[in-house]
Every structure is written in C-alpha cells, then in structure tokens.
Subunit: 346 residues, 2 copies
C-alpha cells in the first residue's frame, strides 16, 4: 500500500496517540467552520455561483470525517459528547447530500439516454447548483436526437428529479437555518480548539482501533460475491430487474456497506498519516459508481410506475433501467479487479 | 490447432485432391438422403415426436456443408452445375431453418424474462417441434412468478413468435412438397453417387482453396473491434439501443459475417480432415450466441412497437431488449477471448 511514500507518519511505524486524533479533529472542525463561512458568503453572492456548491461539498467532507473519527476512535473520546454529536452529524450529512445526489442522478440518467440513442452529447457547462440560490435546471441536452420514447423518458425524469432536488434544496436551506444546525455548528466551533479526549487518550495507540476498522472492511469485502463479480458479464445485477419488489435490489446492500466501511478505513488512515492510498481511492470510486448506478436504475424503474405514461416512454425507461443495472455489474467487476490487486500487494 | 491428434489426414500434411472433395460431397449427399427418408418416416409418426426435428436438423446440416463446399472448392466443380445448385441450397437452408429459429428465439426470451424476474425456472421437457406435425406451443413457464409487465411481455412475445413459427412451419412444409424441392433432392441423389468434378480436379491440391477460406476468415476477424470487445462492460452493444432506426443494429453485421466465414472455414477443414478443432467450434458457438441474442433483442424491440400495449409491458420489453443487447456484448467478449487463444496457439 504505497509504503515507500510514507515516511515520518508511516501508519505502520511507531505509536500514534490521542494527540494525533485531536489534531485531526481540530483541523476538520476548522475546515467545517471555513466552509460554513464560505457558504454564508456565497449566499450573499459575493464569490460567483460555484462557491456555494464547493462550500457545501467542503461542509459535507468535514462532517463525514469528524463523524467517522467519532466512530472509529470512540474509546478515546468523551462518550456523552460523542454519542450526542454522532446522530446530529449523520442528520447533517444526509440532509446536505440530497440535493447533489438528485442532481448527479439526473445528469447520469440523461447522459445514459443520449448514449443509448447513439446521439452525440453536446458539451456541458458546469452544472450550477447552490444551497442558497434557487437550483438551476440540470443541463438537459438537446432532445432533437432522441426517439420520442427517449425524449419523453428524459423529460419525465427531468421533471421528477428536479422536483426532488428542489425539495432537497429547501430542506437543506431550512436545516442550515435551524436551531438544531446552530447547536451542531457551536459544538464543532468548540471542537476546533478543544477536543474532549478521555484521560487515557494521550497514552493510547490509535493503530489497533484503525486496524479494527480495516478488519471490518476486509471481512465485509471478503463476504462479497467477488468470484462472480470477477467473471465479466455474469448477468447477476439484472436478476430481479423485473421482480415485483419495488424496493432497491437487496443484492446491492452488502456492496453499499463495504463502501461505507472502506470510507471509514480511509479516514482512519488519514488520522494516522497524510499519505493517500491511491488504490483505496480507486476502490472507493468503484463503489461510488456502484451506488450511483444502483440509485439511477431505481429512479428509472420508479419513473416507469408513473401513471398514464406512453408505452414508448416506459420502453425507454426499461432499457435505461437495465443499462444502469449493467453499470452496477460493471462497477462490481471494476471493484473486484481493484481489490484483488490490493490484496496481492498488501 | 490440435495437430497432435491428426495423423493420416492431417490437413497440413501432403496434398489432398479432388478425390477427397468428391468423397466428402458423396457422404454429405448420402446424409441428406438419409435425413430426408427419416423425415418422411417421421411424418408418418413411426419414430416418436422428436425424429422429425432431428431429421430436419440433419437435412439443414448436410445442405450447409454441400453449399459451403460448392463455394470454397468452386474451381474443382462443374461451374454450370454448381452455379445452378447453390441458390437452391441457400433457399432450402433458409426455409428449413426459420421454424427452429423462431422457436429458439421465443425460448431464449422467455428464459430471460424469468431470469429477470428472479423466478425459478421450472424444468423443461424437450420442446417438441416438427416440420410435419403442427408445432407444439413452446414451453412457456408458469407466469405466476412474473410481474404483470413481464407476464404480459411474455404473452405478447409468445403470440407473435408462435405465429411466425407456425407460418415458417407451413412455408417449410410447402417447400418440402414443392417441385422446386424435388428438383434439388434429385440433384443431391445424383451427387450421392456421381460428383461433377472438372477434369483437372484429380490433380488439384485442395489446400490453397481451404487456405483462402481461412484467410477470408482471418481478415474479417481482424477487422472486428476486438480490442473494445476484450474490455468487459464496454457498453458498446447497447449504443443505439434507443435509436430511431428500427432495423437490427448495423454494428452486428461484421460479426454475423465472421460467423458465416468461420463456418465456411470449418467445413473446408472437414473436407481435408475428419479431426474436429474444438476451438473453432467454441468460437463458432460464441458467434451463434451473438446472432441469437441480436435477433432476440430485435424481436423484443419489435414487440414493443405493437400498438396499444400497456406501459408495464413496454417497460418489461425494454429491460429485455437491453438484457439481450448485453448478451450480444458478452458473446463478443467470449469470442474475443476464444479467438485470442486461437491466434496464440496457431
């Protein structure tokens, strides 16, 4: 795992104690406060339309890391403090992430519709979204190249996902103005200077806790059907593609779980060392792609249940659903390849 | 190419001349006459329900081989005779193959619908078809496990492909009773004892002609997009999946062409040696699967254009179409793997 690049803070080297955790948490809390300030300034539109997007992303980024550290290094932190903060961070992270999720889902589905129509996709501008400004419509490409069914499917998805995104936008705005949020922000402001470590933390080695996070990841990844996933075109992901169950495919859940465990492992490594493990990043990207395709496939299936749609629209949504389920399968294959290499090199 | 198994008739060994071609054609003509007799007896239902199916298959099998030899070894055969026989064999092969093609297409699509529904497929009996008996309905599995859409899609495909199959059955029966067929059968009856070779045939080596057939195959296979095909999940086969063009995907044509050239090469090898090249067989099976999936995908797309179908039916047909297009992609990947091994070992 890129050991040759790690020197003073090699995670496999000598003990790293609670001080390192405190430093990490302080810096993430500082990042959070900086992003919050940028976000508020962006709301006043002093920094161009993209600033709030970046700021919102940076907010989520630091929230995820603080939350992960509270989880992985729980024994080193004041239990009352961390148990009360963790659900608040989960709420915040979930609420802030929805708008972006709907936006990128729509973009993914419209791109796929164009690919499936053999149409050339027009160059896109950066899709402007903002938690503070009204959400701009996602960049819908020219529908002239699509069949009637594909164009109607695109319009239907655009309508449904833009509505969902607008609602997520309002919810996020409400959240950021709520007293609940202000309480979280206050807690994090304190964290930026003062980390509530337990007394024994200064003498506690973080490695065993980080190793436990890695072990949880390894166990969950080992339990995945990686042998099947490593056989291209195994046609597993589309099983149940027409099942009567409208809920997302249950077969995806263990992969989503590994995605979360991989992130926890990655953040735990960050506490121990600033060195980036490129393979972990790649493996995580495969699982992000898996999650995105899984959710896009579900959105296409859900749109197809809209009453009174034309058969051509439903047909296009069926093709699109299957296409995204194959993306799910492709992402599993890519993860398997990546994970196998990792297992060999460690 | 399995050279170690070839001894007296090693295709790479000493010259094989027109005599071998005459022997091969005589034996194929004899096979044809035997199959024709079995088929007629099967029509009188003296040999159980499967005899006519096997007989029809054997008829097509010998027709394809005679036709291929006329093509590959044209310079050795009386030109008037072979030029007049070849279109008749093509007609016969095409006419006799349609019923089976519709039957297996329906079976493939119904199996896929069940797989996509996550349903357990009930054990099937051998699907009885006969050129002489009324076609039995294809084994439609219990629809209880399917969603409304999948069940309706299955019923629609069943109706359309069974109708097409019944028509193909009648056409084949008519063909077998026609004076045109009797003329072909008479010509083949003569061929069973007397092959119209040109005078120089006895001294002509067949190898250069067989090598030319192989070269045509190699050239066409080399021109295929094998690099892309060798990257799993390249998503090429579903491009144009929603294109306005209702005709089968033009990207499939070169693969269909290689399928035919591979068969010509395989039959040319048969003339030179009875040894079977297992890799050639496997490569051919990949391309058969490619053709079958391509045609099944087209049948699903075509069924989706039926007026007044329910959106749920259209959705299921869309999923099914995409599934079969991925089968097309999977078959290309399998062919690429097979062909690469072959290229390395020769």
């Amino acid at each position: 795992m890129a050991q040759q690049h790690l020197e003073p803070t090699d995670p496999l080297a000598g003990p790293v104690t609670g001080d390192a955790l405190a430093g990490y948490l302080r810096s993430q809390a500082t990042e959070f406060l900086r992003a919050l300030r940028r976000h508020r300034e962006g709301g006043a539109e002093t920094q161009g339309p993209e600033a709030p997007v970046d700021a919102a992303r940076a907010l989520r980024r630091s929230v995820r890391r603080i939350s992960a550290s509270l989880h992985t290094f729980r024994p080193l932190l004041d239990p009352d403090w961390s148990e009360s903060l963790r659900p608040e961070l989960a709420w915040l992270s979930g609420t802030l992430g929805m708008e972006h999720a709907y936006e990128s889902r729509l973009e993914r589905l419209l791109l796929a519709l164009h690919r499936l129509s053999g149409a050339v996709f027009p160059a896109q501008g950066a899709g402007p979204t903002a938690l503070t400004a009204q959400p701009a419509p996602a960049p819908v490409p020219d529908r002239g190249n699509l069949t009637v069914g594909a164009a109607k499917a695109g319009a239907l998805l655009d309508r449904q996902l833009t509505l969902a995104r607008t609602r997520a936008h309002s919810t996020a705005l409400q959240a950021l103005g709520s007293s609940r949020f202000h309480a979280v922000a206050d807690t994090i402001a304190v964290l930026a200077s003062e980390v509530p470590l337990v007394k024994s933390a200064a003498g506690t080695d973080l490695h065993p806790l980080a190793a436990a996070a890695q072990e949880r990841l390894d166990d969950a990844a080992t339990a995945l059907p990686l042998v099947t996933a490593g056989h291209p075109y195994n046609a597993e992901a589309l099983i149940h593609g027409l099942s009567p169950d409208p809920s997302p495919h249950p077969q995806d859940a263990p992969w989503h779980q590994v995605r979360l465990l991989l992130r926890l492992h990655r953040y735990a490594r960050e506490v121990l060392s600033p060195a980036v493990d490129v393979r972990l990043l790649s493996a995580g990207q495969c699982l992000d792609r898996h999650r995105d395709a899984s959710e896009a496939a579900a959105a296409a299936a859900s749109a197809a249940r809209t009453p009174r749609i034309a058969p051509a629209t439903a047909y296009a949504l069926g093709v699109l659903h299957a296409d995204q389920r194959h993306e799910v399968e492709a992402a599993r294959f890519a993860f398997q390849q990546c994970w196998q290499k990792q297992a060999v090199s460690t």
